[in-house]
Symmetry: C2
Subunit: 337 residues, 2 copies
DNA sequence: TTGAAAGCGGTACCAT
DNA sequence: ATGGTACCGCTTTCAA
């Protein structure tokens, strides 16, 4: 078992002090160390395949150069894509990313945050779960920089990068209305998260703007914990009501995926039997027989901005919060009629 | 800016030594420290919201409890799913996962590995890229534990968890043969990676076993770097040859996704105009009008085993290598005729 | 130009 | 039962 080589090992071999080795290896040309010594040290370092121990550097500097990324589920394509973007952006700033999946569960989220705080991450990017307000407030109290993405808590001042959920939901609902649908159902998560409420509000106000009364029986909420079955039940309810809906707005891509499967199972055809719009894209939609009208989020921008804000905050902690509400775009396809 | 609280802070407040605080906080009941003092220390620690600095612990113990995960692309659902499983399994062993995407690029892979070695990760789980043999050998030289997944280098002794690519490819090709196809094209990556070669070998030997001569013009290889266009070109070539193929075997799900899009664009119908089989599943296939016969990998098992082997290796470095070749299963659907 | 030494936050051996 | 202290590997001040 060959132990890792440290500055001390190099110093011993080169017959110089540890400090000298450190200077040579970190300060490049203008280290103040003489040419001969420098060369010797460099040579030995290379021979020994020296690698600086970043744990020690971190302890010394108080900076870990690690960012904690907490999402609902890293295997969800939406978050996986964000993760990739964040990875790339973080790397540009010399940060490494550790990730954790909260499963939309506040306890798991709390455990993850604590774990990563102990690991001295320099900051967090978090898609916060319902009920995680305390955790977020605690981060603030501890002066640990963080940026919320995808969702945020309006009652808590913080950095965040989200999209204008209200507007996007309004627009996509309008699209259904414009194509002649006035009986529109909505499938949402049963969640108090602001972004979800905003999507519902967008839906509601779009209807009202056209003078249509919002029917709460048409706003269906499903539990994270029982997703597949719940979607199935709720979609059927919407379609078998005394006055069935002619269109459904799915407020996330995961909901849509299971919703579309339900629609298929019921032998209904989009858009002839039923119109459909979705918040978010999904690779799977590319293969659906009917191209799906949906809201497309600017993932790249979200990731870039989140990192930029975070790194900024890490470097200059006095700064005020950055609150970004990006525009999402409506991608019009063939699923509305 | 409130600094983080350390043992020293608690010691000062409690008027005891740092050592005492450490004992109380780490050794629980049988710390050897008296009840009164223990309680006082615990109380103050709680008040001050003390969090052990794991960087310091790591420096001291030489263990970071971090595992480096290197995949081709974390946003690829295959790897995102694996990542999630690895995250969960790692957590059971108290490990945190940092990840990096290599983009199938040996240089990036090397940079990532070096970065994470400097960060003192306790071990790696790697889906190695083409040309990364040197890096793997270096890890061995440095006695850094690692497990290869998805692919491995047969010429390098190491831990790995893969599936039996040859057998799976053989089986899935056989399925095409059994359903009456004898003119079968293959779309693969242009790569020397063993798993890809094994898939091609499975295809070839399945043909030969039925007395069909392998036509190298029907084995098409596409570049990672030019995926979409290349798939389009090669699929067209297969279909517009003097003797066109009646079936195509896509050796990964990403290839299949673009291949199916090409087939759609050419206005061909699966399976009537062309039969299709795929190595790996994809959520997108659920929405394809024709359910796709494919190879399903035991992702959960791969992730679990990879972590188990890795953690074992970390704890008992003398152990011999574990080489796992798991069984993949053939999921028969309707895309062959 | 070079080096001694303090210190980052813990842990654990050895005293007392 | 409690505490002094060395050490993990590195950086940086201060002195020589």
């Amino acid at each position: 078992m060959n132990k890792k080589v440290s500055l001390k090992d190099i110093a011993k071999r080169a017959q110089v002090s540890i400090a000298t080795v450190s200077y040579v290896l970190t300060k490049g040309e203008n280290s103040g160390i003489g040419y001969e010594v420098s060369e010797k040290v460099k040579k030995i370092a290379a021979e020994l395949n020296y690698r600086p121990n970043q744990i020690a550097q971190s302890l010394r500097s108080g900076k870990s150069y690690i960012i904690g990324l907490i999402v609902a589920d890293i295997s969800n394509p939406f978050f996986a894509n964000i993760a990739r973007i964040i990875e790339d952006e973080a790397k540009k700033h010399n940060y490494t990313v550790v990730f954790g999946s909260s499963d939309e569960n506040a306890t798991k989220s709390s455990d993850l945050i604590n774990l990563l705080v102990n690991r001295q991450v320099d900051g967090f990017i978090i898609a916060p779960t319902e009920g995680s307000q305390e955790q977020i407030i605690n981060l603030k109290k501890q002066n640990i920089p963080f940026v919320l993405i995808d969702r945020h808590f309006p009652e808590i001042e913080s950095n965040y990068v989200t999209i204008n959920n209200y507007k996007a939901a309004f627009d996509v609902t309008n699209r259904l209305l414009d194509t002649g649908n006035s009986d529109i159902g909505l499938i949402a998560y049963s969640s108090d998260l602001h972004h979800m409420k905003e999507r519902i509000r967008g839906y509601s106000e779009a209807l009202e703007a056209k003078g249509i009364k919002v029917d709460n029986n048409r706003i269906k909420k499903v539990a994270f914990s029982n997703l597949i079955e719940d979607v199935y039940i709720k979609v059927r309810e919407l379609l078998s009501a005394p006055k069935p809906v002619t269109a459904i707005f799915f407020t996330t891509n995961t909901l849509a995926i299971h919703g579309l499967k339900t629609i298929d199972k019921l032998n209904l055809k989009v858009p002839n039997d039923i119109s459909v719009v979705v918040f978010d894209a999904a690779e799977a939609f590319d293969f659906y027989y009917c191209p799906i009208t949906h809201i497309k989020q600017p993932l790249l921008k979200i990731g870039k901005q989140a990192i930029d804000i975070l790194v900024n905050q890490i470097n200059t902690p006095e700064k005020k919060y950055s609150k970004l509400n990006l525009k999402a775009i409506l991608v019009e396809k063939d699923s509305c009629k």
